[in-house]
């Protein structure tokens, strides 16, 4: 078996599955995002309720998975319950290798179960397992621990699961895999919850042939060498993504206290350097990745009433988590911040959306838009982690209308309670941790997922610190080109951190050895643009209108490292992006 072209379709309503060969899709769209958007279009009816049984979940991997390093991502697509539009989220861990080893290129989960269920998937298909005994377990960690004992495949399987947030349909609930990786953004966890789907495990033991063994080994060694010698990869290995805290704080681009500030004298306490020095307990890698960017803090603390009785909690940290649950909330005590990360992990929430939601709520309470009546007696204040921890629990359990609204994201909550000017969401998705300048925001607004990873506009801003900011049209063209190319990377399912290693030449070579037909650099560009257009045409079909994009005023009020962000620049650049897209 060469290319992963088989698609497993599991129907939760009928408790049946089928397998189809979709070489038609994989041969042209490669895999990952390119295949997933096509499957989503086929399986998701127009106007589907994101939490209805008609919303499918698509997982797709690509032809380089299991063959080459740094190509172990799984792309999930679904209709997002947070934005009501395209949901796309990527995760690594062992998910992609497991899916391909089980003999599949993609998995589609349709329908909804009446009673709690988890799926155990192998090369024979789907086993529908009763999950009524584990439904209601609030912790994603405990859920993983239980299923680990129930299923085979230790070492090569993936266990994707939800915690309490997914069960309670928090619109930004995540799906956790291998304890520390996430389909974090846009609410896949709530889609799982709406289907009464507690977990999906996948395991398999198939090998994959290559077209030319000698060329395969040569291409492998070339990539491996560049990966272990690259300074960029060393950065991700040593301190990790959290090495960005100090430079952003210095540049005054670190969103702080709901973006009322962009820097803090206390930021060093939550920096990657301090965390590495005092807390780093373990580094972990996704399957087939020599970099091991996953940094885990070991937090050793005494139990309050028992002397000499300690517990050590292993808590993952990354730049975005530190931003969202640290600086954005004014939580600069590193232990307090780690506790908040831990809570969010256990409940299975998206850290970024949760942090931004709490930041909005804090300011709304400060301004009197909400009172203790809404917060159920909580006095949300910057830096007050114990209170934030209680609020997080309320977001999950939604004991009143206010927390129900907050569990729907800041866009919805601010529409009810006011404060839209400081409700920091773009396209309905809560903002990432870069207040670097205008291009970053154009990226959040125009990106198909409204994510900083769609086209990394912040890096164009950062380059302009020592150079020249492109004009709005040039910026749009750059973003468009980058986002189109990233469709190829996420169809190969190459990690974006390895984008410097997988240049066009490497992509061509690796695809060929994987048994894929020859693809010229020009056609790679063309396919990338096509995938981007297909994602956006899905969005259009589901009611997305670029003209309706809301920009919270806060963005213009707080100066960025490039000075005040100019609304005209943003509008002009956004317009140009959509002109290029629909051209």
């Amino acid at each position: 078996m060469r290319l992963p072209t088989r698609v497993l379709i599991a129907d939760l309503t009928a408790r049946r599955f089928t397998v189809e060969d979709r070489a038609d899709l994989f041969q042209y769209y490669i895999g990952g995002a390119g295949v997933a958007i096509n499957l989503l279009r086929e399986y998701c009816p127009e106007g589907a309720d994101p939490l209805g049984s008609e919303n499918p979940i698509v997982f797709a991997v690509g032809p380089l998975v299991g063959l080459y390093p740094l190509a172990s991502k799984t792309v999930a697509m679904f209709k997002s319950p947070l934005t009501g539009n395209l949901g796309e989220s990527h995760a690594g861990g062992r998910s992609a290798v497991a899916i391909r080893s089980a003999g599949y290129g993609a998995i589609v989960i349709r329908g909804a179960s009446e009673s709690p269920v988890y799926l155990s998937i192998d090369d024979k298909g789907v086993h529908f397992r009763d999950a009524s005994g584990i439904w209601g377990i609030a912790s994603s960690v405990t859920t993983g621990r239980i299923i680990r004992e129930l299923e085979t495949g230790a070492g090569t399987r993936t266990i994707m699961r939800i915690g309490g947030a997914g069960e309670r349909l928090v619109r930004y609930a995540s799906v956790i895999t291998e304890t520390y990786r996430h389909f974090g953004r846009l609410g896949l966890g709530a889609v799982f919850g709406s289907k009464k789907l507690k977990a999906v495990t996948v395991t398999g033991n198939h090998g994959f042939e290559v077209s030319d063994r000698r060329l395969y080994r040569e291409a492998y060694d070339d990539i491996y060498k560049r990966a272990v010698e690259s300074p960029v990869m060393k950065k991700y290995h040593d301190i990790g993504t959290s090495s960005n805290i100090m430079p952003l704080n210095l540049q005054k681009g670190l969103p702080t206290m709901n973006l009322t500030a962009t820097t803090s004298p206390d930021a060093e306490r939550i920096s990657g350097e301090i965390l590495a020095e005092h807390y780093l307990g373990r580094r972990v890698a996704c399957a087939h990745c020599p970099v091991a960017c996953i940094h885990i803090a070991a937090l050793r603390e005494p139990y309050e009433k028992e002397p000499y009785f300690y517990k050590t909690t292993m808590i993952p940290y990354d730049y975005e988590l530190i931003y969202a649950l640290g600086s954005m909330l004014g939580v600069f005590d590193e232990k307090a911040m780690l506790h908040l990360i831990d809570d969010v992990e256990i409940w299975g929430l998206d850290a970024m959306s949760t942090g931004v939601a709490l930041a909005w709520a804090t300011e709304a309470q400060e301004k009197g838009l909400i009172t203790q009546k809404e917060t159920l007696g909580l006095n949300l204040r910057w830096g007050d982690q114990p209170t934030y921890a209680k609020a997080v629990e309320h977001i999950v359990k939604q004991p009143n209308d206010f927390y129900s609204a907050l569990a729907r994201g800041v866009e919805k909550a601010s529409a009810i309670y006011g404060g839209a000017g400081f409700a920091l969401a773009f396209g309905g998705n809560e903002m990432p941790g870069y207040h670097t300048g205008p291009v970053g925001y154009v990226g959040y607004l125009t990106g198909a997922r409204h994510s900083h990873l769609d086209a990394a506009g912040y890096s164009i801003d950062q380059a302009a610190l020592n150079g020249k900011l492109p004009d709005p049209k040039a910026a749009a063209a750059k973003l468009f080109k980058e986002e189109a190319w990233r469709q190829i990377l996420s169809s190969l399912v190459v990690c974006f951190f390895a984008r410097g290693i997988y240049d066009k030449d490497t992509v061509q070579k690796t695809l060929e050895t994987a048994g894929h037909h020859k693809v010229s650099p020009e056609s790679l560009d063309k396919i990338g643009v096509e995938i981007l257009r297909e994602k956006n045409s899905f969005k259009k079909r589901e009611g997305f209108k670029p003209r309706d994009l809301r920009i919270p005023e806060r963005v213009f009020e707080t100066p960025s490292p490039l000075g005040k962000v100019d609304e005209k620049y943003l509008r002009e650049s956004v317009e140009e992006f959509y002109r290029l897209l629909y051209a």
Partner: protein, 135 residues
């Protein structure tokens, strides 16, 4: 003769490059033919266990093979004569460290030959080749 040794499992990040390397000896992707395995020690938070052949001087796997498909390897461990193997799984069951893995497609065991290929691809100094030593 040297043998594969797990010298520091605490440095292991679970990247599984060793597993992929082992499989790549056959010019294939995936893990079907791999004779080494890295699994978590009961969840990623607890670190990793590297399961590899110890190159026993008196291998239990060899002793239970009903068709003499496993032959003693100089320096410890065994060599598989695949033509003789009937796929009965007894070797896998006999190995106390569970280091005999299975190629489901071929229905044969994956036996470590201590070739050192995996060591070359371990970026974190978990694996090394060592002289066999007695306690």
């Amino acid at each position: 003769m040297t043998r594969l040794a797990v010298v520091d499992a605490d440095r292991c990040v679970g990247c599984q490059l060793c597993m992929f390397a082992c499989n790549r000896r056959f010019g294939e992707g995936g893990l079907a033919k791999s004779a080494i395995r890295v699994r978590s020690a009961g969840g990623f938070e607890r670190g990793f266990v590297v399961v590899a052949c110890r190159a026993c001087p008196d291998p239990p796997c060899l002793k239970v093979c009903p068709v003499d498909a496993l032959e003693s390897r100089k320096g410890g461990g065994v060599i598989l004569k695949a033509g003789k193997c009937i796929g009965c799984h007894r070797c896998a069951e006999a190995c106390p460290v569970h280091a005999v893995f299975w190629d489901d497609e071929a229905n044969k065991p994956n036996i470590c030959v201590h070739c050192s290929y995996c060591v070359k691809y371990c970026p974190h100094e978990v694996l090394a080749m060592k002289e066999a030593e007695q306690l």
